[in-house]
């Protein structure tokens, strides 16, 4: 069973709805025991970084332990940003530190938030995009993005005047800045691929 981490805020249900649509039942929970038993974890996107870290609270440690044990973890939007060391959104905040990097504002030369459909180049070696071809459009809605400094991480980029990190992978830790649950068939395919990784 994939566990979607329950932050008790925001619309985490849309992620569960999308998984159900592809035939994958998920459990919404923040219970350390359930997290330990899960085949995979999803950190959905909610609110601002600091608020999300606080809402994660005592669920942070079990998530880190699961990631260290090699369990597939998928962060979405702010959940993706939480995977990194720190963010500057509303003052400095520590993240989970699973992947080295900083979360910084989208450059103000472009309209912020970066909201809408944009084209992501899909590197072949990233598991989430297996069989999806060289590039696909995904739905974005964010004002901050992750600058990845981790030498072991692979990244996919999106061009918004400047290249922004659209996705990251380090071992079995995955992050997507876009919303796969709102990105039509190609978004559902990303969730299917994650589901497959959880069954390995």
């Amino acid at each position: 069973m994939i566990v979607v981490i329950d932050y008790n805020v925001g619309n985490v249900k849309s992620v569960c709805n999308a998984f159900r649509h592809i035939g994958c039942e998920t459990e919404l929970s923040r219970d350390p025991a359930r997290i330990a038993q899960a085949t995979g974890l999803v950190l959905p996107g909610v609110a601002a970084f600091g608020y999300a870290m606080e809402a994660l609270g005592d669920a942070a440690e079990p998530v880190k332990e699961a990631a260290a044990a090699g369990k597939p973890v998928l962060g979405i939007c702010v959940g993706h940003q939480l995977l990194f060391d720190e963010s500057t959104e509303y003052g400095p905040h520590q993240g989970l530190g699973l992947i080295q990097g900083q979360v910084v504002p989208v450059p103000p030369e472009q309209t912020v938030p970066h909201m809408g459909w944009n084209l992501v180049e899909l590197p072949e070696e990233m598991d989430l995009f297996a069989g999806m071809g060289p590039a696909k459009h995904f739905y974005f809605a964010h004002s901050y993005y992750a600058q990845v400094t981790d030498g072991q991480a692979k990244t996919a980029l999106v061009d918004y005047g400047t290249p922004l990190t659209a996705s990251v992978q380090k071992g079995s830790i995955y992050g997507v800045q876009f919303h796969p649950e709102k990105s039509s068939n190609q978004g559902l395919q990303v969730l299917k691929n994650f589901h497959a990784l959880c069954r390995r």
């Binding site: 619309n11 249900k13 849309s14 709805n17 999308a18 159900r20 649509h21 309209t111 938030p113 970066h114 909201m115 809408g116 459909w117 944009n118 084209l119 459009h137 739905y139 809605a141 061009d159 918004y160 919303h179 649950e181 709102k182 990105s183 039509s184 068939n185 978004g187 559902l188």
Partner: protein
């Protein structure tokens, strides 16, 4: 680069899509959930659901509909029609809507925009403006044939209409759009009451006047009849997205046909 968006609009009354829909292979063409899911699967970038009854009694119905839509539609969708309070916006967002549009209530109480934007974020809040051309007899200011006949005036003024477009106010559309942005609206859904339902093209003078005045995205609405019209709304009118009902509901053009046409004319599209 962000793509230009194609947004089908579904008018909903008593949990049924009105204006009629002519899609092949739909079990129930009047069901907003089934129709929304079909659009989601066939390439629409977003959807707008408008509750055109918008009575107190219809609120519960629309919330239930939003929940069912969220279980079956995997693209962003906006819900609007009769939204009056921050609490109603909260309920619709929690039920699964990506954005909520406000119209009459925002004109009557502009603070609604500021309060909602602060609480939920600008990206959740769409300011819907129904615009009607204020006066006639103004001189043509352009020979651009792509401007519709009605739209050949840069001196034109538009008035904000409220109560489903039925009641004109003294509020100037361009000023209201600007103010809406200042208050925290994340997007403008701009409907020309003059062009709506004519299938004769969007009012691109209106679209241009508003898109030049604000930095947030403008969705052109009202008048789409051909593929050219969509292109002109973006290129002449400066719109970031085009909304339509009849030309897609009646099956004149599929979403893919629209996107391929616009892509072939050089616009960035999600295809």
């Amino acid at each position: 680069m962000l793509t230009k968006r194609i947004i089908p609009c579904l008018d909903v009354k008593d949990n049924r899509v009105v204006k009629g829909v002519n899609f092949l292979n739909l079990r129930d063409a009047g069901d907003p959930v089934e129709l929304g899911a079909r659009y989601s699967e066939t390439g629409a970038d977003e959807l707008v659901f408008l509750d055109i009854t918008a009575t107190i009694r219809s609120r519960k119905t629309i919330v239930d509909m939003v929940k069912r839509v969220a279980e079956n539609v995997f693209i962003p969708f906006t819900v609007g029609g009769g939204v009056q309070t921050v609490e109603q916006i909260d309920e619709l967002l929690r039920s699964g809507a990506e954005k909520v549009s406000v119209n009459t209530a925002a004109v009557e109480n502009p603070k609604l925009i500021a309060e909602a934007a602060k609480r939920f974020g600008n990206q959740c809040l769409v300011l819907a403006i129904d615009a009607r051309r204020a006066s006639s007899g103004m001189r043509p200011a352009t020979d651009d044939p792509r401007m519709t006949h009605d739209a050949q005036h840069t001196t034109a003024r538009w008035r904000v209409c409220v109560k489903a477009g039925s009641e004109p106010t003294d509020v100037d559309v361009v000023e209201w759009a600007r103010r809406g942005e200042e208050l925290g609206a994340g997007e403008i859904l701009l409907t020309s009451m003059d062009a709506d339902g004519t299938l004769a093209g969007y009012d691109n003078a209106l679209n241009k006047a508003v898109s030049d005045a604000v930095n947030i995205p403008v969705i052109a609405s009202g008048g789409a009849g051909t593929l050219d019209h969509l292109y002109d709304a973006v290129v002449v009118g400066g719109a970031d997205a085009v909304l339509m009902a009849s030309i897609t509901h009646f099956g004149n053009y599929t979403i893919t046909q629209m996107k391929e046409y616009l892509r072939d004319r050089g616009l960035p599209m999600n295809l």
